[in-house]
């Protein structure tokens, strides 16, 4: 049993991060305010997110932004509107964070209309949120803007809420057999107590439920996470925290195709779209399957790869995030057998096979 010791004097990590984000928002306001007070055209500078300024950093094992930066100045007629939107968004999320409320991207889009500066469309408002992330250096979840998509978690981890109205309340994440949604409250929760010693991330909902039914969390002392396809940022950030704060190793299971492979890779190495953000990836997480070689070794029922699948494999082969030996080997294996398989394919050997035979074999091989 692992009890996380907290000293009451020192603010929690969640609280610290919140203060950092609020501070960054405030200093953005102060910068613009002082420019205006000095009769200067207000402007902000931020790293460029253009494709030629994104590079792969070997040290952090993720995509990061290069040296190029862009300036958004109110003096430029084409910039004055986006700059206004940026400052508005800043003041909007500042208020959200201080009141402990959350919002969605869609909410932000509609809320702007109350200030007679509506966004042309959702894409424009999403862009401004991304600008704000770039300037503040934190993911939108850190300033309380959450996406619609949700994934789930299940396991013997006790969390302590920090959200308004629930402060200090604790909850064991094994208390509901469907798992718990990874929403704003859970994302902002502190870890109180953890009996698990590993994380198993699963792409498919069906298999996640199977793992709970087969009591994988007890048999393997694991926290189970359902990524629901490509893992949302909040989920990726949670996996990282479990890995960094609680030192839990992470094992990822996805479908045996280029798309499943990439779900695992983004958890490990991050995405190019989030190159302006840190602390979203878990470089030490392990991709455990299903591999192309597993299709052969376990004689799994499979389907032929489509042209699109093959094209994607060639793209991934050139991607710096796929430089590792395992990735290279499995890409070649896919291209050789030209077959793909779903995680559920193990059901051919009975419902318990994946938990009783395949999982222990993989965990042993990877740790």
């Amino acid at each position: 049993m692992k009890k996380i010791v907290k000293t009451s004097k020192k603010p929690s990590r969640i609280e610290q991060k919140k203060q950092v984000v609020l501070g960054s928002l405030k200093s953005l306001g102060e910068q613009i305010y002082s420019q205006l007070s000095e009769r200067q055209w207000p402007s902000v500078r931020m790293p460029s997110r253009s494709i030629n300024n994104i590079r792969y950093d070997q040290k952090t094992r993720q995509y990061i932004l290069g040296e190029q930066s862009v300036k958004r100045s109110a003096r430029n007629i084409r910039h004055v509107r986006p700059l206004t939107q940026l400052v508005w968004t800043g003041s909007f999320v500042d208020e959200l964070s201080r009141e402990g409320k959350t919002s969605t991207l869609r909410d932000v889009f509609y809320s702007a209309q109350a200030y007679e500066m509506s966004f042309a469309d959702q894409a424009e408002s999403d862009d401004i949120i991304t600008d704000l992330e770039t300037i503040i250096g934190h993911s939108r979840e850190d300033f309380n803007v959450f996406p619609e998509e949700r994934s789930a978690i299940f396991g013997d981890l006790t969390i302590q809420y920090t959200v308004r109205g629930y402060e200090g309340k604790e909850l064991n994440l094994a208390s509901h057999p469907d798992g718990m949604m990874i929403g704003p409250a859970l994302t902002n929760a502190e870890f109180a107590e953890c009996k698990a010693d590993k994380i198993i991330a699963i792409e498919k909902g069906g298999l996640f439920t199977r793992f709970i039914e087969e009591r994988v969390h007890e048999k393997y002392k694991a926290i189970l996470i359902h990524t629901a396809g490509q893992a949302p940022r909040a989920t990726r950030s949670l996996i990282r925290r479990l890995n960094q704060e609680l030192k839990l190793p992470c094992y990822i299971f996805c479908d045996a195709d280029p798309w499943g492979m990439h779900i695992a890779n983004v958890i490990i190495s991050g995405s190019a779209n989030a190159a302006h953000l840190r602390d979203l990836n878990t470089p030490d997480a392990k991709w455990c399957g299903v591999w192309a070689s597993d299709i052969v070794d376990y004689k799994l029922p499979s389907d032929p790869l489509t042209d699109l699948d093959i094209k994607r494999l060639y793209e991934l082969d050139k991607d710096p995030r796929y430089a590792g030996q395992l990735w290279k080997k499995e890409i070649q294996a896919f291209l050789k057998i030209k077959r793909k398989a779903e995680q559920e394919a193990f059901s051919r050997y009975g419902l318990a096979f994946i938990v009783d035979k395949y999982l222990p074999a993989k965990l042993k091989e990877m740790s």
């Binding site: 306001g29 613009i32 305010y33 207000p42 109110a74 700059l83 508005w88 500042d94």
Partner: protein, 514 residues
């Protein structure tokens, strides 16, 4: 028995009666338009001859028959022109081809034909008579009721009365009935009057239509163009028939004298050298020329290098009056007018005057609106066959002058000449003679250049206004949101920044006024 062809002489009135199409009286719609046009033009000519600012009163009233097709209408027109001497009123209105327009000078009509055609058409369609009242200004006003004897080409006076003229009125009033399809002709008649008001800005035209509606086109100026001077014919434009008539008329006993007296810009030296080249003796009596010698003379006149005709016989409107006309009828935002120097085609002098206007009552959409005028007459039909249409639509690259099809732009082309090169007898469109085409193109390029300056300024100002609007909308918002975000109490003042945008705009406005 051998068949014998019967030759029969017909009178000029008979000829025009049988061929009324050529004078523009094809059908009841066209006829009423031509009637109005001819009468208004005669009235304008009668005033301009002595630089009297014209006051024209026109009334059309419905008499009988349908109003949605050909019916009978009564026409009444009055002017304050020079009037017609009472002894020639019967022939002036009751005899086709009698008129004052045989000499060469720029007038609206050519033969003095149109007004009589209008009366003739009224007579043959309604069997009525025409009433003419006129005075040249002394103590009497003469009243004639008359018809035309078509076969004899003679006026028949039904009644002649005189009234005392205490107010020393001068002018003419004409009234008669005619068949017309007014409803279908209405829009063309109104266009005609409006365009006449543009090209004769010194005239006041009052019109009461068959439904009693009053249209009034007030004069915008009392300044009048210089009246055209009569000139002798230029040798280039003379044909065998004209030459024969001149020979009949002449008092001169020698060919040299004949050439000097009857032709424009021909002096002793030129006459002598010309006759030498033709091979006719200078001292020969012109009345003794043999028919083949007359033909030789006419042919030689076309090839010999005579001095170009001078333009004193032309009466252009002038830039100032053209501008005044456009301004008063369309009140545009911008006008540019330009008059070319006199030029000549086939020995006939001509002057091209053009204008371009933007905005005001000019309609948007449908491209550039073209107004065509010849000798101060608006041309309303067959636009696409006209030389000006060709130049405006196919030769001027309007995009080069920043013009886009959605702009409210009108182009005005006035061609004046002793002989306007109409393509057909209908006199509605002008032939694309290369000399005329070149003059129109050069003139239009000049006004288009000025238009493009105006448009760039306008685009510039619109751009600045847009800039200011954008900054005015967003800068205060930036100030308010950043104040909130920085948790400050007092909002920073953005007016200095806005003023710097404003200053930019004021600068460009000053530029425009200068």
């Amino acid at each position: 028995m051998a068949l014998q062809e019967v030759f029969q002489e017909i009178s000029a009135a008979d000829f025009f009666y049988r061929n009324r199409d050529i004078a523009g009286f094809t059908n009841p719609t066209r006829a009423i338009y031509s009637t109005i046009r001819e009468l208004v033009e005669n009235s304008l000519d009668a005033c301009e001859t002595r630089q009297i600012p014209p006051d024209i009163y026109l009334r059309i009233s419905h008499e009988s028959g349908p109003t949605d097709g050909p019916g009978v209408y009564r026409i009444h027109i009055e002017d304050n022109g020079i009037g017609i001497p009472h002894d020639i009123i019967p022939s002036a209105f009751g005899q086709v081809l009698f008129g004052s327009k045989y000499k060469l000078r720029q007038t609206r009509g050519t033969f003095g034909l149109g007004g009589k055609m209008a009366i003739l058409y009224g007579q043959i369609t309604t069997h009525g008579f025409a009433t003419i009242m006129s005075s040249t200004g002394p103590t009497k006003i003469h009243h004639y009721d008359l018809t035309i004897d078509i076969q004899k080409n003679k006026p028949v006076v039904l009644k002649h009365k005189t009234y005392s003229n205490e107010n020393r009125w001068h002018g003419a009033a004409i009234e008669f009935s005619t068949e017309a399809d007014y409803t279908r002709a209405m829009s063309k008649i109104l266009d005609y009057l409006m365009e006449t008001a543009i090209v004769a800005p010194y005239a006041t035209i009052t019109y009461v239509d068959p439904r009693g509606r009053l249209y009034r086109f007030d004069r915008g100026t009392t300044q009048m163009p210089k009246p055209p001077e009569e000139t002798l014919p230029h040798p280039y434009g003379v044909d065998v028939e004209t030459l024969k008539r001149l020979i009949d008329l002449t008092q001169e006993r020698t060919l040299v004298g004949f050439m000097r007296t009857h032709f424009h810009r021909v002096g002793r030296t030129i006459a002598t050298s010309f006759l030498e080249q033709v091979g006719l003796p200078a001292r020969k009596n012109p009345k003794k020329l043999a028919p083949d010698e007359i033909v030789r003379l006419v042919n030689a006149m076309k090839s010999y290098k005579f001095l170009a005709p001078d333009a004193s016989c032309l009466s252009p409107l002038g830039e100032e009056l053209l501008e005044a006309g456009i301004k008063k009828e369309l009140s545009p935002e911008f006008i540019a007018v330009y008059q070319r120097k006199p030029s000549a085609y086939s020995g006939f002098p001509f002057i091209v005057e053009v204008g371009v206007a933007y905005g005001g009552q000019i309609e948007t959409g449908g491209g550039i609106k073209l107004f065509r005028f010849a000798n101060k007459i608006p041309l309303l039909f067959d636009e696409a066959s006209d030389v000006s249409w060709k130049v405006v639509n196919t030769e001027v690259d309007w995009r080069h002058y920043k013009v886009t099809p959605d702009m409210p732009i009108a182009v005005f082309v006035h061609i004046c000449s002793t002989k306007v090169p109409y393509k057909t007898v209908g006199k509605e469109f002008i032939a694309d003679r290369p000399d005329v085409e070149r003059e129109v193109l050069n003139a239009l390029r000049e006004v288009a250049r000025r238009l493009s300056l105006f448009l760039s300024k306008k685009i510039h100002i619109a751009h600045d206004k847009h800039r200011l609007d954008v900054f005015q909308k967003y800068l205060p918002k930036i100030a308010s949101f950043s104040t909130k975000l920085a948790r400050k109490a007092k909002q920073p003042d953005v007016s200095p920044l806005l003023r710097s945008v404003l200053k930019y705009e004021e600068d460009s406005e000053d530029e425009q006024e200068a």
